[in-house]
Each structure stands twice: as C-alpha cells, then as structure tokens.
C-alpha cells in the first residue's frame, strides 16, 4: 500500500491549490481524482470572476479571504503564468430596490476595506460602458474585480504541485475511508492508499466524503445556473457587468481573458447536474437584450454550472465557507461556492497549514511556486478557430493531457466557432500516436 503524509480528495481548483499548498511543507502528498483530468467538475462550469469582496458580510471568513485573495491575485497569476484581467466591474440597477442593494454592498465593501469602490450615476456608468441600456439608473463600480479562466488556474496549480514533487492519481474513485493507527486508509478504485492527514475537497460530494469517516453537520444542496458563450472578435463590454434587478440577481456578463463574453443566469433548480435548461437560456438572451441592447449575440456554446450550497442540520442555508475539522489532521472544505474561485489559493493554504501543523512538519525550503504556460507554437496550425499549433498540443500531452477534452482545457483547442468539428480528429490522432509511441 502506498503511503503519504497527506492526501487531497478531489481535483477541482480547490484540490489543486490544496495540493500545491501542501508542497510548501516537508511532506509527501497525493491528490486523488475520480475523473480523467483535474478541474472537470464545478471548476469546469464557473463564472470566471475574481470578486472584489463587497458581497460578503463584514467580518465573515468569506469577506476576509476574498479581499486578501483579490489583492494578491495578480501576483498569483504571474507566478503561475495564467492570464488575469483586472477589468473592473459595474453592478447596475434600474430601480429603488436595486439602489438599496447597491448601497448596502457599497457600505459592506467599505467596511471590508476595499479601495476605489464608487456609487455612480447611470450616465457616468454609460460613459465607462457605452453599451449599457438607458434604463440603468445607477451602478456600483469596483475597479479591483477581475476575471481568470478557472480551469487554467487549477491546472497551473496542479502542474506546479507535481513539479514540486506531489503525486496525481487520476481515474481514481474514493470508495471508503477507514480510520487506522496514525491515519487513514483510503480504499479507491485503483488500490488502497495510507495517509496521515486528509484534505477533503470533494466538491458536490464533500459532505458524503466526510461521512465516510466522521459525522458531518453540514449538508450540500445543489442548484444550477445556465451560461452562454459568445464568439470572440465582437464588440464586448470592457467591464464585468452585474445586473441587480428589482426582484433579485439578474444576469452577469464577463469579458473573459480569451476574448469571449460569458453570460450567466440567476440560480435555478437543478434536475440533472450540468444539464442546461431551455427556458433558462432563453431568459438570459432576453435579459441580455435589455441590459446591453447593442451587443451582437453570437452564441457558440451553452453550459450549466452547479453550485454546492451548504446547509446546517436544521435545514438553514449557511452563508459562509464551511471548513470542518472533525479530527486533527482531517480538513473538509464543504460548500465552497462564490467567491470560491477567488479564494481557492487562500483556502488551499489554510487547509495545508492545518495539516502541516498536525504533522508537525517544517516549511519546504525547496518549494518553487513558479510555473510557465505552454508557449511553443510551431508552424503546423491544427485548431483554425483559435490558431493553435501541433507543438502546443504535444506539449499539453507531455504535461499530462490524455484526452481531447484535456488538451482543450490546456491550450484552448476546440473552443472557437466550429467547436472542434475541424480539429478534434487531428487531435485524437496526435493523442493516439503519443499512446503508441509513434509521435
């Protein structure tokens, strides 16, 4: 049985950062992930926003972590060589109820220590963002809001962790956890693993994973949101635009680092995980027309996100991150929803510190947090929409991509207008040759 000091369960963006953070200490670490790649669950369908921190109650863990993480985000992305755009955001409102919400968020933002936050008129908002509808009467401007590609960030953290000696076990489903002398035996679909400490980042199943070994007072209930993606090369808004309606949250438009505009809906009930809803998508399109009337709606893709909402035993919704430590050396991150992406590194560090303290281990002087993005284009263009070459695809395989989907998540193939219909076959052939050793 393979033995490690610490095991991370679940390879979403949280698990990837937990693994990387463990590498900051002198210990051996492994990440187990049920799917064929990391970042294939909640991380894969995310609004890509790096929040400023005005949405969270002053003094809450979320508020403290979000503000701190936001300030450090540029540095984090430079270290991991992931594109980050601090594009700023405008939360728009048209009526009295929205005005009250914006004013409260402004006050909370100030209490949370945010700089540059401003309540502005509709006209001023339209000066900054000329596409905004005439109906917008006011906006909350937050210059520190930004956007990052969630899976690129998670994959970068994972690559960096592996570079620092951590191990990755994909296609490995956790079956049970047994408490044993000095630690835990994780029974998995690819064999047993012994570890002294556990970080549970199992996303939608985090409550169930904790219950394999301990009681868990927090339960996850899921809801969903629909997303549409626009083609690149259209005139996009420059800022992230949040729509606060008289009856609650409306849509959000995010100009992504790749050049596409991503629009999401307010949460809805979830009959099937990650399945889109026709009414939800139609509603996004209508609301988008109302918010940004001149925007060309050139949709190339739709998808649905799932959010893990934490609830207490009496059924009440918990409005904060839940970090459970049912035993020393066992940490569960449960119900980490917005701003989970923003706080992924903070949460990973927090959990890793608990494990390191429990293991009584020192900091690792050899930890190197730097990682370089794939940058080796050659002259054989495979993905025409995105202009991605064979050499970049091969490098993504060298770094661990084993499926067409995994290549896509690393270099962006198949994410353009044709959605892979012109390049997928060639990418599959390159993967095949890699497997046969004939590349």
């Amino acid at each position: 049985m393979k033995s490690y000091d610490a095991a991370v369960i679940g390879g979403g963006v949280l698990g990837c950062f937990a693994l990387r953070s463990l590498c900051r200490y002198r210990l051996s670490a492994v990440l187990i992930e049920a799917q064929a790649d990391v970042c294939m669950g909640i991380t894969r369908a995310n609004s890509a926003i790096v929040y400023a921190g005005y949405d969270n109650k002053p003094g809450s863990l979320k508020a403290r972590m979000c503000v701190r993480a936001n300030r450090r985000f540029h540095e984090l992305c430079s270290e991991l060589d992931v594109p980050f755009s601090r594009c700023g955001s405008l939360m728009t409102g048209c009526g009295e109820k929205a005005k009250a919400v914006l004013e409260k968020k402004y006050r909370d933002g100030i209490a949370n220590g945010l700089e540059g936050l401003a309540l502005i008129s509709g006209d001023k908002a339209r000066k900054m963002e000329p596409m905004l509808s005439r109906d917008v009467k006011m906006a909350l401007y937050a210059p520190m809001t930004g956007t990052v590609n969630p899976w690129r960030l998670g994959i970068a953290a994972c690559e960096n962790a592996v570079h620092n000696g951590a191990e990755l076990r994909l296609n490995t489903k956790l079956l049970t956890i047994e408490k044993t002398e000095g630690g835990y035996v994780l029974r998995t679909s690819t064999g047993d693993i012994f570890c002294k400490a556990v970080i549970n980042c199992a996303g939608l199943s985090a409550d169930m994973v904790q219950r394999m070994a301990f009681p868990c007072a927090v339960s996850i209930e899921t809801d969903a949101a629909d997303f549409i993606v626009m083609d690149k090369d259209i005139d996009n808004p420059a800022h992230i635009i949040f729509q606060e309606k008289e009856n609650g949250k409306g849509i959000t438009a995010v100009p992504c680092t790749e050049g596409n505009l991503l629009i999401d809906s307010a949460p809805r009930a979830m009959p099937r995980p990650f399945a889109t809803d026709a009414a939800g998508i139609d509603s996004i399109k209508k609301q988008l027309t109302a918010l940004l009337p001149e925007l060309e709606q050139d949709i190339i893709r739709a998808f649905a996100a799932v959010r893990p909402n934490p609830h207490s035993e009496d059924g009440r919704s918990i409005n904060d991150f839940c970090i459970e430590t049912p035993a020393p050396g066992f940490v569960s991150l449960i119900g980490i929803k917005t701003p989970g992406l923003t706080c992924a590194e903070e949460l990973g560090r927090y959990a890793a510190k608990i494990c390191a303290d429990y293991l009584n281990t020192e900091e690792n002087p050899h930890f190197d947090g730097r990682r370089k993005a794939i940058n080796c284009a050659d002259d054989d263009i495979v993905c025409l929409c995105q202009g991605i070459s064979r050499a970049e695809i091969i490098e993504s395989i060298r770094r661990g991509a084993r499926t067409v989907e995994a290549v896509k998540r690393r270099v962006g193939t198949g994410m353009g207008r044709c959605q892979g219909s012109r390049c997928e076959v060639r990418i599959a052939q390159i993967l095949e040759r890699y497997r046969n050793g004939t590349l």
Partner: protein
C-alpha cells in the same frame, strides 16, 4: 518579402478554378490541408462532373495547374490592409508575402451544435454531419448506432444515405413540413430504411458521458448513440473580418454564398480569376 499578383486563400473547387483562370499572372494558391480539393475530398458519393465521386473529381480539377505556385499545409494567419499576408506552413515556418489582389476561397463552415444551444447534457457522440462525413469516408470510422440526424438539407440527406448503407439505424429529423435539399439528394433515400420525423426538432439531449437519447419537440424520445447536426453552413470569412471591403479583394465559392451545386462554385471561382486578370 516576395510579391505575388494574386494570393488565393483556399484550394477547394473555387480556389482551384480561380487559379486556373488567372492565366499569365504570378499566383500563389495557399491550402491548409496536404492535398488540393477542399470539401470534395470527403465526398464519396457520386454526381460530380457527371458521375464521379467528389474525391475523383477533385483529382481531375487539380490537373493542369502547372503555372501556379501551390503552397500546401499552409494556413494564412492574417491579411492586412497594406496588402500583405502572414502564412504558416508546416515544417517550413512562417513567411510574410505581399500581393496585388486577394481571392478568398475559404469555403463555408458547418453551424456547430454549440451554436444551437440545445438544452440538456453535453455528452460525447454529438458531431456535425460534415465532420462525420470526413471521419467515415477518410478515416474509416463507423458511427455508433442508432444515429439521429438533425436537418435534412443536402448534407443531412447524404449522411442519412451513408449511415443507412452501413446498416446502422438512422432517423432524420426536420423542422420543416417537408424534407429539404435538392430533389436528386432526396432520391438517395429511396428504398433505404431511414426513419423520418417532419415538423420537429431536437429539444433536449440526454446522456451524462455518452449520448443516450434525444427528446424531439413533438414529445417523442429517440434512443441514440450518435447525433449529427446538419442545420446549415455559414460563409467562413474570419480572415477578412477586420477589412473594410477593399477593392483588391474578391470572394468566391462558398465563402461568398453557399452554392448548392459544384458547377456553380467552379463558375464563381473562374469568374473571380478572370476578374483579377482583367485588371
């Protein structure tokens, strides 16, 4: 920087015809694949230039291009207002060229399933019909049945015939009240076992990892492992999107408008070639 009288982007039927017609000029014909012929190369069905297959017809078409410089495996990355283009050629690197006239013959692109944003899951097994045509005819791929084809235009009809002749169950779903496409392509289905659902569309997709079924707008659920989307083509003009209709540019073939017949594409390409020669 090397100068050409004419740069032709795209070595399908339109680009080849334009190159042939541009007699006496210094022509560069850039083609991204390793062979000239474009979409003809994935057409195994007959009816081109009499009774040839698309593949056979492409070979006859590409004959007699002696005075044309052909650059295969070459993607034209960009074209600028000052009449230069950046080319990327496999194993040869990138080079910039200048030109006096540009003929765009980049063809059309299938409307991808993503653009339809059909509700439901996003499993494997959903393809565009043209992608499947290439997989079957050029790579020897056999689709998992049953197959559902959405859209009964020419490509949908041809793929229905192709799949049915492989003895794989296939259903053609068409939104209109009657089958689309040309009469001669509709006749391809005569005597074949092809299910047809008119006045309906695919409104939801089921299957967490692999495709399991589609729900039609008439309420019927069809079990299937492959969905082919054949809802239409759009002109591929990405390369010239930023240009403001300069007088040195001409579009021909399917990037100008989608032509139902190959003869019309060839005629269009020839006219484009003659146009640049006449200047």
């Amino acid at each position: 920087m090397e100068h050409y009288d004419i740069l032709i982007v795209g070595g399908g039927a339109a680009g080849i015809s334009a190159a042939k017609a541009a007699k006496g000029k210094k022509v560069l014909l850039a083609e991204r694949e390793e062979k000239l012929g474009g979409i003809l190369l994935q057409c195994a069905h007959r009816g081109f230039g009499g009774d040839l297959s698309g593949m056979e017809y492409a070979a006859t078409l590409a004959d007699d291009l002696d005075n044309v410089e052909i650059s295969l495996n070459t993607t034209v990355l960009s074209v600028s207002e000052n009449k230069t283009a950046l080319l990327s050629q496999k194993d040869c690197g990138r080079r910039e060229i200048s030109f006096s006239r540009l003929i765009l013959a980049t063809g059309a692109m299938e409307i991808a399933a993503g653009a339809l944003h059909i509700a439901g899951d996003r499993p494997k097994g959903v393809y565009t019909a043209g992608m499947m045509q290439k997989l079957v005819n050029c790579n020897g791929f056999v689709p998992d049945g049953p197959v559902v084809i959405l859209g009964s235009g020419d490509i949908g009809l041809i793929m229905a015939e192709t799949v049915a002749k492989m003895d794989i169950p296939v259903t053609l779903v068409e939104k209109a009240a009657a089958l689309g496409g040309m009469a001669r392509n509709r006749r391809r289905l005569d005597g074949l076992d092809v299910g047809i659902r008119l006045g309906s569309t695919v409104s939801e997709i089921f299957g967490e990892k692999e495709l399991e079924a589609v729900l039609l707008s008439n309420g019927e659920k069809l079990l299937c492992k492959t969905l082919l989307v054949a809802v239409g083509l759009e002109c591929d003009r990405k390369l010239i999107k930023k240009l403001e209709n300069p007088e040195w540019l001409r579009l021909c073939g399917n990037c100008e408008r989608v032509h139902p017949m190959i003869e019309s594409v060839i005629n269009d390409g020839t006219q484009a070639g003659e146009w640049v020669c006449g200047i």
